[in-house]
């Protein structure tokens, strides 16, 4: 018998063992969802973007396949609030405004999912007129004169919805991963997508998104609150958008400055610069997503390649007809947010603080600028225009030079660059210069807008049709015009970038030397290939490695983030740009050994072979923080400078779970209250009559019990 009992006990324990394992209840209730959140930015007058409630916004999942699904949610929601999962083609201005109007009681969360993205024909959240309020202004009107917002087809971003500049009362969460989307859809199908009448009565699959934003109202309010210090210390509500612009000169400057700080800085008027600029940054509605392939990377790639080409083609500065001439290349950061980088550049030049004293060279002022060539968006290179405010001999002359090379049968570029004179100039950095002085000699190269994904998460390698050739050939040396056609066909992106770069570089060559370029060497499309791969697919790439210190850790296998971000942000793109300029725009110093190549401007880079080489560099950083944050008592509403700030937040997260129905909640609570009340009554009665119940107790106890009526 005992033996049997023992066997049973052992068997029982084994049974229990096989089915039990420790697990936190929470893990069974919630499933985290990975994605990117929309966040809040503020300017002098408004707040834009999204925020969840403090503890997280919760909504019942609802898959939207067609517009009728949205109508259903908005007109007769059975158990609000809901969280519609919207595919990109339905993520339109009209639909989002309808959701916003419905209010957070009906729509508490919006999820953008990657489903049916082939149905999407356009997706741009930027305004029809990017940087509408900070460009060249009409007299007495705070709106840009260079773009007509009332006429979208004729604007600079005809497909823009302006959603980036809307304030939403709910969080928007973008789920890029298809598997995560499938998890959401499965949960919706399993718990929600049937018997809608009983939605209010049963538990439903819901999502909670946490993306609470600390700042509110506008930059003035949040900066005031951030600067306000009380006994408990200060709280940070928002940070100004801040990054670094990168600049470099073609030839090392030879204009040293006395370092004594007592003497005011003075300009060396003998120096002459041709300013070649472009935009470094891009943006999108969601945190950490958005490559800006077509909206800004093309121009940036072109600038880099022009710089590289000129560096290799031009003779030493001393042998130029005018040996005081130089070229200043600048990649402005924060241009997507009211030209932060170029406004700061103009402000610094006006105040004679560019470049910083630490560079030990004289400041550069507007007197030193011969003219500016600004490279804007290059959506369609067969349709590039040279924009100027007024007809000038300079512009006509430069256009002639450009077209001379663009149409030359010798190189076979087969391009034709048109002139476009008038107030309608594209939203590029040049506007900051023209705003200061409309007579400023600015030439802007910009193609007719054709980017349907301007400033959006879908402006990626696919949008520009980029495919990495991965040839492992020499991409640094110039290439013969006949050879350049061997690696790519004529319509490949790499060829387009190389061709435009060649044309611009040759025209600048002619301007500087006074001689027509007659060589056979053109820009190397393989360099464009490597460059685009680094910025569109992976920072762990050959070009970045070659321009870093030998053996330094390689970049992440992700494209570098090109949103300007805030102080303390990653600043990846400006860091890589700095190194690229240091490599592509520098002079090799073969005679200098590694030990002596430690102090700037000498810089030791890995080089194409990774063996290391010494370079005489010219590049440097420049703060891209709007002057609005430097000026004491700046009037935030004046619209003079960019006032963009980014709200602080503690976390972004999303998770799905079952939201209990009201019936379930109320039932549980009712049971609890009933149990509580009954037990109080029962125990009072038992306690008061314990002498009756336990009659065997010693007699002395009886004295204490209170008599009670039953």
């Amino acid at each position: 018998m005992a033996q049997q009992m023992k066997t049973v006990a052992v068997w029982f324990i084994l049974l229990l063992q096989s089915i039990t394992y420790g697990e936190r209840t929470r893990d069974k209730m919630y499933q985290p969802i990975v994605g990117a959140a929309c966040f809040r930015r503020l300017n002098g007058t408004h707040q834009i973007g999204c925020s969840s409630t403090y503890s997280g916004s919760v909504g019942v999942l609802h898959l939207v396949n067609i517009e009728a699904d949205l109508d259903f949610l908005l007109t007769s929601p059975p158990s609000p609030p809901y969280a519609p999962m919207i595919p990109p083609h339905l993520f339109t201005h009209r639909n989002l405004l309808r959701l916003k109007e419905a209010g957070p009681d009906i729509i508490s969360v919006v999820l953008l999912i990657n489903r049916n993205s082939d149905k999407m024909t356009q997706f741009s959240h930027e305004l029809n007129c990017p940087n509408q309020y900070s460009g060249l202004l009409k007299p007495n009107i705070s709106e840009s004169a260079t773009c007509d917002a009332s006429n979208p087809p004729n604007s600079w971003n005809p497909w823009g919805t302006g959603l980036l500049h809307q304030d939403f009362p709910f969080p928007i969460y973008y789920i890029a991963d298809v598997n995560e989307t499938q998890t959401l859809v499965n949960c919706f199908e399993k718990f929600n997508n049937f018997d809608y009448e009983s939605h209010a009565l049963r538990s439903l699959c819901a999502v909670e998104v946490k993306s609470f934003m600390s700042a509110a109202v506008n930059t003035e309010v949040c900066m005031r609150r951030t600067n306000f210090i009380n006994n408990l210390g200060s709280t940070k509500y928002c940070d100004p958008l801040e990054g670094r612009s990168v600049y470099a000169t073609l030839y090392p400057r030879n204009s040293p400055e006395n370092l004594t700080t007592e003497v005011p800085r003075s300009v060396n008027t003998a120096e002459k610069f041709i300013l070649v600029t472009t935009r470094l940054d891009t943006t999108s509605m969601f945190d950490g997503v958005g490559l800006g392939a077509l909206d800004s990377l093309m121009g940036f790639a072109t600038l880099t390649q022009v710089a590289h080409l000129l560096r290799q083609l031009l003779p030493p500065q001393g042998s130029l007809p005018d040996p005081r001439r130089n070229v200043l290349f600048v990649a402005f950061n924060g241009e997507s947010f009211d030209y932060i980088g170029s406004q700061r550049f103009v402000y610094d030049m006006e105040n004679l603080v560019f470049p910083a004293r630490s560079t030990k060279s004289t400041p550069i002022s507007f007197e030193n600028i011969e003219f500016m060539l600004d490279i804007g968006t290059l959506d369609d290179i067969t349709n590039i225009k040279l924009h100027t405010l007024i007809t000038t001999p300079l512009a006509q002359d430069f256009l002639k030079k450009l077209n001379n090379y663009a149409s030359s049968p010798r190189y076979g570029f087969n391009l034709d660059i048109q002139s476009d004179v008038g107030i309608q100039i594209p939203p590029t950095s040049a506007q900051s210069f023209l705003r200061r002085d409309t007579q400023f000699p600015a030439l802007i190269l910009n193609a007719v807008p054709a980017n349907k994904y301007y400033h959006s998460i879908y402006d990626d390698a696919v949008n520009v049709g980029f495919s990495y050739a991965n040839t492992s050939r020499d991409y640094i040396s110039l290439i013969d015009v006949s050879e350049s056609k061997n690696y790519f066909n004529a319509t490949a992106l790499q060829m387009k970038v190389a061709n435009v770069s060649s044309i611009v570089a040759f025209a600048l060559y002619e301007t500087l030397t006074g001689l027509q370029y007659t060589g056979n060497k053109v820009a190397n499309p393989l360099l464009a290939d490597e460059f685009l791969y680094c910025f569109l697919q992976s920072a762990d790439c050959r070009l970045f490695k070659a321009s870093s210190y030998p053996g330094s850790p390689s970049g992440l296998p992700l494209p570098p983030m090109r949103y300007i971000s805030v102080l303390g942000g990653s600043q990846e793109s400006s860091g890589w740009t700095y190194r690229l300029f240091g490599y592509l725009l520098s002079q090799p110093q073969p005679s200098v050994a590694k030990e002596n190549c430690t102090n700037l401007p000498l810089h030791w880079v890995a080089g194409i072979n990774g063996t290391g080489e010494c370079r005489l560099t010219t590049q440097s950083y420049m703060d891209a923080l709007s002057p609005a944050f430097l000026i004491e008592n700046y009037d935030w509403r004046s619209g003079k400078y960019s006032t963009w700030t980014e709200s602080t937040w503690s976390q972004f997260s999303a998770r799905i779970f079952l939201r209990p129905s009201h019936v379930h909640k109320i039932t549980t609570l009712t049971i609890g209250i009933v149990v509580l009340v009954i037990s109080f009554c029962l125990i009072y009665i038992i306690n008061s009559r314990s002498d009756v119940l336990f009659d065997d107790v010693p007699a002395s106890n009886a004295a204490f019990s209170r008599p009670t009526a039953c």
């Binding site: 925020s51 403090y54 609470f212 934003m213 600390s214 700042a215 509110a216 109202v217 309010v221 005031r224 609150r225 306000f228 009380n230 006994n231 408990l232 709280t235 509500y237 709200s647």
Partner: protein, 101 residues
């Protein structure tokens, strides 16, 4: 301390001290005075100091009430107008709410 064990003059002295302290913008002291001496002033059998204690308790009660009305009004006015007052309200606040005007 147990007020019931104190002699009557001591009670009066305490009650007066509390009443006077309350004038230093300390309405809670008045409120405590009222609670503490309520029984002494109104419920206990008469004793010589009782009339004075009663007076102090009454004045303290009135003071508390006035303070209460003032505070309630101020809180309502401040909370409903905080967003509109902008910078002024921010400088008045010790803790500014996150994520709202």
């Amino acid at each position: 301390m147990d007020i019931s064990k104190a002699p009557n003059p001591r009670k009066l002295q305490l009650c007066r001290t509390y009443f006077l302290t309350g004038f230093a913008f300390l309405p809670f002291v008045w409120a405590i005075n009222v609670c503490w001496f309520f029984n002494e002033a109104l419920r206990k059998p008469p004793f010589p100091e009782q009339s004075q204690i009663k007076r102090y308790v009454l004045y303290s009660a009135i003071g508390t009430l006035i303070w209460l009305i003032i505070l309630i009004n101020w809180i309502i006015i401040f909370q409903t107008n905080r967003a509109d007052w902008g910078a002024t309200a921010d400088y008045m606040s010790f803790i500014i709410p996150l994520g709202s005007a």
